[in-house]
C-alpha cells in the first residue's frame, strides 16, 4: 500500500524528462494534452469572470476607492493602529502559551498517574475543557469572575484564562500520547535497574517524549494564536479588533482592512506552521528518542497516509 498522490512516478512521456504523474490519470497523450489545455483556459476564463464580477461589485460599493487602501501605505497607520493590536494578539498568545504548556504537562502526566485520585480528576478536567467551546469559557470567565468572586476581569485576562484551560487540556493529550509512544521496554528497564517512578518519568520518559511531541505542541500553538481572535467578541483590543473596528471607524474601509489583517494573520501562522514542520522532520531524524513524532489530537490521521502536523480546530 502506498500513497496515490504523493508518489512521484517516472514515465517515459517527454523525451527522457522525468514527469511527476499522478496515478489517478494516465500520462497525457496528444489528445489529452489538448483537452487539458482547453480546460485550463476554461478555468482561467471562469476565474477571470469571477474576479471581474467581484471587482465590479466592489467598485459599485466604492470599495476600490484609493482612499480606502492608501492608509495601509502610511507608516503612522501601522504604528498607531495596527501594531498595538498585533502586539496585544502576540502577548496574549505568548502569555497563554507560557502558562498552557506547563499546565498541559501537569495534566498529561497526571492522567498517567498510578493513583486514581490524581488520574481521575486530571481526566475529568481535560475532557471537560476539551468539550466546551472556547468562547463559552471566555464568557464564563468574564461574567463568572465578577459575579462569583467580585473581580473585574479584563478581556485580556478572560482570553488568556480561556486559552490556557482549552489549550492546556489539548496539550495534556499530546503529552500523554508522547509519553505513551515511548516503548514499554524503556520504563521497564529503568525500573529494573532500580529507578523510582518519578526518576523514570524525569530521566527516561520525558526527555524522549518531548522530542516526539514538539511538532504537535508547536502545531497546537498555531491554533492558540488563531484563537486569540475570539477576544474580538469580548472587545479585546487585538489584531482583529484593529482590522474590524479601529481602522474601519477611521477610514470607513472594512473590507480592505479585514483583507490586510487576514494577510498578517496568514503570514504569522505560516511561519509558525513551517517551524512545526521543520521540527517534525528534525525529530523524525533524531536518534535521541525511540518514539516517532506524535500527531496532534484530532489531527487528520488515516492509517497508511503520510503524517502532517495540522491540528483540527
Amino acid at each position: 500500500m502506498s500513497a496515490l498522490t504523493t508518489e512521484p512516478r517516472r514515465t517515459r512521456g517527454g523525451a527522457g524528462t522525468p514527469d511527476r504523474v499522478n496515478v489517478l490519470y494516465d500520462a497525457p497523450g496528444p489528445r489529452a494534452r489538448r483537452r487539458n489545455a482547453v480546460f485550463t483556459v476554461l478555468v482561467i476564463v471562469a476565474a477571470l469572470v469571477a474576479g471581474y464580477t467581484m471587482v465590479v461589485k466592489l467598485n459599485d460599493k466604492h470599495q476600490l476607492d484609493p482612499a480606502l487602501w492608501t492608509p495601509f501605505l502610511r507608516g503612522d497607520v501601522w504604528v498607531n493602529l495596527i501594531l498595538p493590536g498585533l502586539l496585544n494578539t502576540l502577548s496574549a498568545a505568548a502569555v497563554a502559551a507560557l502558562i498552557a504548556v506547563p499546565f498541559g504537562f501537569v495534566l498529561g502526566i497526571g492522567r498517567l498517574a498510578d493513583h486514581p485520585w490524581i488520574r481521575v480528576p486530571a481526566g475529568v478536567v481535560v475532557e471537560f475543557f476539551r468539550a466546551i467551546p472556547l468562547l463559552v469559557m471566555i464568557f464564563a470567565v468574564m461574567y463568572g469572575g465578577s459575579a462569583v468572586f467580585g473581580l473585574t476581569v479584563t478581556p485580556f485576562t478572560a482570553v488568556v484564562i480561556g486559552l490556557v484551560l482549552y489549550n492546556g487540556s489539548v496539550l495534556a493529550e499530546i503529552v500523554r500520547a508522547g509519553i505513551q509512544s515511548i516503548p514499554r521496554g524503556q520504563s521497564e528497564a529503568a525500573l529494573a535497574v532500580g529507578l523510582r517512578k518519578g526518576q523514570v518519568m524525569r530521566m527516561i520518559l520525558l526527555p524522549q517524549a518531548v522530542t516526539a511531541m514538539m511538532p504537535a505542541i508547536v502545531a497546537q500553538l498555531v491554533v492558540l494564536l488563531k484563537d486569540t481572535a475570539l477576544g474580538f467578541i469580548v472587545s479585546f483590543e487585538d489584531l482583529l479588533n484593529a482590522g474590524a473596528r479601529v481602522l474601519p471607524s477611521n477610514f470607513n474601509n472594512l473590507i480592505p482592512s479585514v483583507i490586510v489583517i487576514a494577510i498578517v494573520y496568514i503570514i504569522i501562522n505560516l511561519i509558525v506552521g513551517a517551524f512545526a514542520t521543520w521540527l517534525e522532520r528534525r525529530s523524525r531524524r533524531s536518534r535521541r528518542t525511540s518514539a516517532k513524532p506524535i500527531e496532534p489530537p484530532g489531527a487528520i490521521v488515516v492509517p497508511g497516509s503520510p503524517t502532517g502536523v495540522s491540528a483540527v480546530d
Partner: protein, 222 residues
C-alpha cells in the same frame, strides 16, 4: 438553579439553532471540501493551485475573522442578501463563513483518505479505461470517504463548537444566549454555565461515539 429551569425553553431554542448551524455548515462543508479535494488531485495544475491556495488561506485565518468578513463585509458593505429578515440573513452569512472555513479541513481529510486507497485500485481503473472523473467518482472517492469517517467526525465536533463564533455577528446560538442569560441572571452564572456546558457535552459526546461506530462499521476491509 431556578433560573436554569425558568429559561429552559430559551436554552433549548438556542441549542436548536446551534444544531441547525452545525448541520447546514457541515453539509455545505462536506460538498465544498470534496470538490476541493478533487481539485487538489486533478490533472490540471491550475485547479491544483486554486485548491492549495484556498486551503492554505482558510486554514491559517482565524474563524472569527472569516465570520466577521462574511457578516460585516458581505452582509453590510456588499449587501449580500439571502432573506428580507435580518436575523435569517445573518444566520446564512454565518453558515457561509463556517462552511468555507470547515471545507479546508474536510478537503485535507479527504485528501489523506485518497492516499489510503491502494495504488492498484487506481491503476486497475485506468487500465479498464476509466477517465479521471470516473476513476475518482467510482473507485477512489467511495473508498477514501469510508477511510476518513473518524477524522470527519472530529471535524464535525470542532464545527459544533465553532458555531459559537457566529455570536460575533449577533447570531443568537448557544454562547450568545448564555451571555444574555448571564446578564439577566447575574446571581445564577454558575448554574447557567454548567447548563450550557452540559448541552455541549450532550451534543459532542454522542457525535464522537456515533462516528467511531460508523468508522468501524463502514471500514473498507482489505
Amino acid at each position: 438553579m431556578q433560573a436554569l429551569f425558568d429559561e429552559f425553553p430559551v436554552i433549548v431554542g438556542a441549542f436548536w439553532l446551534t444544531i441547525r448551524l452545525t448541520l447546514a455548515g457541515g453539509a455545505l462543508a462536506l460538498v465544498l471540501g470534496t470538490v476541493l479535494a478533487g481539485m487538489r488531485v486533478s490533472p490540471l495544475p491550475v485547479l491544483r493551485g486554486i485548491g492549495t491556495a484556498y486551503v492554505n488561506i482558510l486554514r491559517n485565518t482565524p474563524l472569527t475573522l472569516v465570520i466577521v468578513f462574511c457578516g460585516l463585509g458581505l452582509g453590510l458593505v456588499l449587501d449580500v442578501s439571502f432573506s428580507t429578515s435580518l436575523s435569517t440573513n445573518y444566520l446564512w452569512l454565518s453558515i457561509i463563513g463556517l462552511s468555507a472555513y470547515t471545507a479546508a479541513f474536510v478537503c485535507e481529510a479527504i485528501r489523506a483518505g485518497i492516499n489510503t486507497v491502494p495504488l492498484g485500485q487506481a491503476e486497475a481503473a485506468r487500465a479498464i479505461g476509466l477517465t479521471f472523473f470516473q476513476n475518482l467518482r467510482l473507485i477512489v472517492l467511495p473508498q477514501a470517504l469510508r477511510a476518513v469517517i473518524a477524522p470527519l467526525g472530529s471535524i464535525l465536533i470542532a464545527l459544533t463548537k465553532n458555531t459559537t463564533i457566529a455570536a460575533a455577528i449577533g447570531v443568537g446560538e448557544a454562547s450568545l444566549t448564555m451571555k444574555t442569560l448571564f446578564e439577566s441572571h447575574g446571581d445564577a452564572v454558575v448554574p447557567i454555565f454548567f447548563g450550557f456546558a452540559m448541552g455541549f457535552l450532550i451534543l459532542t459526546l454522542p457525535t464522537g461515539l456515533l462516528f467511531t461506530w460508523l468508522s468501524r462499521r463502514l471500514a473498507v476491509v482489505r
